[in-house]
Amino acid sequence: MKFLKYLKPYRIYALLAPLFMLGEVTVDLLQPKLMSAIVDDGVLKYDLRVILHTGILMMLLILVGGACGVLSSVFSGCASQGFSRDLRSDVFSKVMRLSFQQTDKFTTGSLVTRLTADITAIQQMVDFALRMFVRDSIMFVGGIFMMLSMNVRFGLALAVAMPIEIVVVIFIMKRANPLYTEVAKRLDTVNSVMQENVSGSRVVKACVREDHESARFDVANTDLMSANLKVQKLVAILQPLLMIVMNMSVIAVIWIGGRQVDAEEMKVGQVMAAVTYLTRILMGIMMLSMMFQTVSRASASAKRIAEVLGTEPVISDGRGAAGCSGKGSVSFRGVTFSYPGSSGDPVVCGIDLDIAPGENIAILGATGSGKSSLVDLIPRFYDTDEGEVLVDGVNVRDYALDDLRGRIGIVLQKSELFSQTAAENIRWGNKNADEEEVRLAAETAQADEFIMTMPEGYDTLIAEKGASLSGGQKQRMSIARAVIKKPEIIIFDDSTSALDLGTEAKLQRALRENLSGTTVITIAQRIASVKNCDRIAVLDHGRLVACAAHQELLDTCGIYQEIYRSQVRTSGGED
């Protein structure tokens, strides 16, 4: 187990827990023996003093044992909870440092599961191992020892019963495990049908497919039930089978005991003690079989977590180039890029482009022409395959990531907001911004107006992922977040698509006024949004086709003319 190092800081606890458990188990094991003494020497001999003495001794032992048990759970709690906290922190830090291509590969959903369910599974196993495993193994070995120490002949019952129990457990678990996987898979299907119907309810209704969806769900539901039944039927055999083996050996022990008593080799109380030991040994086997299930589940989880921990971020800090005073220039030199693991043509191919400080440049092109991919290379969300990207004259790979990204404000296509207040969300761009600055940024982004209509204005809590806001409102919030950062370079990645015409025009004007001196890179669909830019770069299938001002492109660039015509074709109010 490579996670053992996470237990190291808690090794004292991790050692004390089983140690105290040993105390508890020892008391547990002594107890039937004392009990038999009470019966044989006290009750049968009508000696009240023996009963009282042994009874008091037993009580004391039990108290000690109980204290040991409590302490053991205290220590194992400290160890396992500390262990899981440290592991969780490490995994989360790792996830936060991964590069986009790596999070893409893991998929966010699976990362969330790994960080939550998987870690809990491992934690449970650690706790289990520190206490239950120790307890059951000692009980098992100690029980056998105690039993044989009373009479070796009892070994006969054990020798028959134990192998049978073990074989039964292994046989059934082996068959049940793949069935459990099957159940999990089918449960997934059921859940995903539900999810689709919850989020796609409009389409289901619009297409009048309620019956179809019900039928689809019925199939998934029935599949799940039959898988569940199959595994439960199988597991239902386990307990009765183990029970009968156990109980039959109890009968054998009583029989053997009876003959021993008859031969005056043993006392009656000892026979009873032997029965108790036997029950504990065989129960131990059952517990151990549960233990194996926990371990196998945890080891699957451990594998998934190790996978995350073992992934080294592909994009890491550069040498930390000295702060250059370029003030916002961006250059692409022969840049080619394709998404890691994808085949086919690169999404961005041989791009050369120099953007001067303070320039206002737009990027236009069809869906899939590589616009977003191109700008993602500037803050090093991805690294180029060939060529280099320079910011302020320095290769982006040479910057420390924080330094690089600190120079750039990017408004993503998908606005991601967090469950904090509106003001806190905007302050993402600048932790230290005061209220006035927050408000100013919101005004620039045309967000002030709607924020003020919310119940508590800037202190209104934004629901998870901004669910309480409309698409346009989310976009304006995230623009405000970028504006407040006052970066050298600001990138708008098609981030006004949900705004209506009037609002967008106002936004454009405000941005022009407030962002003077900042390099602005705008990805847009509408020519109207970008027409006033100093230059417009036209991309087509990952290549730079042209880059010039609006009028020049209209005169020289065929693709641009085509886009233009598609938008202002028969415009009456044009020119």
Binding site: G82, S93, L111, T116, N221, Q232, R259, T367, G429
Partner: protein, 612 residues
């Protein structure tokens, strides 16, 4: 814009949707009612249920009998004369009897496992089925005003809880109670005095376990809340990872995470200590009981009031029932949780389903497409009217574009025409028939809508295109895809039309997803077509290509187009401008420009940049 009633998020949740839903133990609001309903579900397989009870009864009796016979067997060795003697024939008889009891016990235990698995699976399957049946018939309003995550958790966690409860808790509760009663009865027949002494330790057990569970519940509750917070944090920051990276917020995220994580650790330790103390303490008490029984029993035996066998029987029985008492306490908490979950499930099941009172003879394939809105009033939230007396006349085959500022109520018109929402006043007719007289299914079949947010279902591309018309064959699907300019990119996918979509089509771009939903509408071939920002994510050049396809698609059918790109709406037969919940202007593009009114101003703002 989808209608997002601007309530604060807390109010949007259903009344039962407390966020602390996944806590260890909760009190249901109206437990009795819910329990009754739940029992009705279980009662669906009543024979199975009663058989199960019978089996459990048998198990309890056998469980109680076994120690008694064991005792008889051991008593065969304790016949006292001068020395210990063993009555072998008696011993053999007792052991044979014991073997029979044990065999029967195993058999019945197996049957119990079998029956309770069956019962719980059937019950849960039925609940799931009914819940889903209800789900697809709920009005859209329900989905718009309830958190999807909350709905999902009702259908997954809550149902799962019921399943475990039916299969495990109910069984152990019943057999626990039976065992306790049985043990007490048997003990009483042996010796009432010793029973009293024995019961005193039980009182102790109940008190201690009561106190302990109270503490445990408190810590577990806290632990669940912290865990929920932690998971929420992970979910949020991992899905919003691009933004986190863009703003170099990794360190803050980690710090916040570690903070919660550490609180969880401390709380977890407390909870674990509480939980870990339970076992040893119960052990202590039951052993204390044993000493009491041995001491008093011995004294009584010396006085000749009872036999040694009785003492041993007492020891066994007192063990027999301290275990179920623990269990009953545990199961009680589980059952409460399950009932609270069931309550939330029934709340969904009992919400009103979509009304469909339409009886008119209206067939989707014969729809002509005359639509009329007369003085329609509507509000999502009471007191905040969205439409204030809207009049709109659409003749068959007309192409109508609806424009207006965000929030002016464009999408609302679509919501009302498809009866996703019900109007508050006025009337809507299709082909002269009141909307409320048309069977809902026929109404919706006659309308195809392409929405702003494209919804794709798990399955292949081909299945998704034919979602609006199941019976379509592959050539029809291909033809529709070609019309929507989707054919080209589909054919470039690894398996073409048979490509399976990952996670709701996340492997497709927004634009491609929209093309698919346009293809879906093309294949459905309805009398009325609604395009609600259908091409907002397609770039304008691709859109231009689709445009001609859309022109063909809109031919001979009534079309409503909602768009904020003027290029998409210029060619409409009639442009309707909505403002403040009413139609303020209508006419053709040229007419409206000439009028220099609302439309003119909207138009100007889009091309404001062009002017200078």
């Amino acid at each position: 814009m989808p209608p997002v009633p601007s309530l604060d998020p807390k109010a949007q949740r259903g009344p039962g949707g407390k966020n602390a839903a996944r806590v260890n133990m909760e009190k249901p609001q109206n437990g009795k009612q819910t329990l009754k309903k739940l029992i009705r579900y279980i009662g669906g397989s009543r024979y199975l249920f009663f058989t199960l009870i019978g089996v459990m009864l048998a198990i309890t009796v056998l469980n109680l009998a076994a120690p008694m016979i064991q005792q008889i067997a051991i008593d065969r060795m304790t016949i006292t004369g001068e020395r210990l003697e063993v009555d072998f024939p008696g011993l053999i008889k007792a052991l044979a009897c014991l073997a029979g009891v044990y065999a029967a016990l195993s058999l019945f235990t197996y049957l119990q496992g079998l029956f309770s698995a069956k019962l719980s699976q059937i019950t849960v399957k039925t609940i799931r089925r009914d819940l889903f049946e209800k789900l697809v018939r709920l009005p859209i309003k329900y989905f718009d005003t309830h958190r999807h995550g909350d709905l999902m958790s009702r259908m997954t966690n809550d149902v799962e809880n019921i399943s475990t409860t039916v299969s495990q808790s109910i069984g152990s509760l019943i057999s626990g109670v039976l065992t306790v009663i049985g043990s007490v009865v048997i003990m009483l027949t042996y010796s009432p005095l010793l029973t009293l002494i024995c019961l005193s330790t039980i009182v102790l057990t109940v008190i201690v376990s009561g106190i302990m569970t109270k503490f445990m519940r408190k810590f577990f509750l806290e632990q669940q809340i912290l865990l929920g917070k932690l998971n929420g944090h992970v979910e949020e920051y991992v899905t919003g990872y691009h933004t986190v990276a863009a703003y170099s917020k990794e360190r803050d995220a980690i710090a916040e995470f570690n903070d919660t994580s550490d609180k969880l650790r401390i709380c977890g330790i407390k909870a674990q200590i509480c939980g870990g103390m339970m076992g040893p303490m119960m052990n202590c008490i039951s052993n204390f009981g044993f000493v009491l029984i041995a001491a008093f029993g011995g004294w009584f035996a010396i006085k000749g009031m009872i036999t040694v066998g009785t003492i041993q029987a007492f020891i066994l029985y007192s063990k027999q029932f301290s275990r179920p008492i623990n269990e009953i306490a545990n199961q009680y908490a589980n059952i409460q949780t399950a009932i609270a979950g069931a309550e939330r499930i029934f709340e969904v099941m009992e919400s009103e389903r979509e009304k469909d009172e339409g009886k008119a003879d209206f067939k989707a394939e014969n729809v002509k497409g005359d639509i009329s809105f007369k003085d329609v009033k509507f509000s999502y939230v009471e007191g905040k009217p969205v439409l204030k007396g809207l009049d709109l006349e659409v003749k068959r085959g007309q192409k109508i574009a609806i424009v207006g500022a965000t929030g002016s109520g464009k999408t609302t018109i679509v919501n009302l025409l498809t009866r996703f929402y019900e109007i508050d006043g006025g009337s809507i007719t299709v082909d002269g028939i009141d909307l409320y007289d048309i069977p809902k299914n026929e109404l919706r079949k006659s309308i195809a809508i392409v929405l702003q947010d494209t919804v794709l279902f798990s399955g292949t591309i081909g299945e998704n295109i034919s979602y609006g018309r199941e019976d379509a064959d592959i050539s029809e699907i291909k033809a529709a895809a070609e019309k929507a300019y989707a054919d080209e990119f589909i054919r470039r996918l690894p398996d073409g039309y048979d490509t399976v979509l990952a996670e709701g089509g996340s492997n497709l771009s927004q634009g491609q997803r929209q093309l698919l939903s346009i293809a879906r509408a093309a294949l459905a071939d309805p009398g009325i077509l609604i395009l609600d920002e259908a091409t907002s994510s397609v770039d304008t050049r691709t859109e231009m290509h689709i445009q001609s396809a859309m022109v063909a698609l809109m031919k001979n059918r009534t079309s409503l187009i909602i768009a904020h790109r003027l290029s998409t709406i210029r060619d409409a037969d009639k442009i309707v401008v909505i403002d403040g919940g009413k139609v303020v202007e209508e006419g053709s593009h040229e007419e409206l420009l000439a009028r220099q009114g609302c439309y003119y101003r909207l138009y100007q703002t889009q091309f404001a940049g062009n002017k200078t």
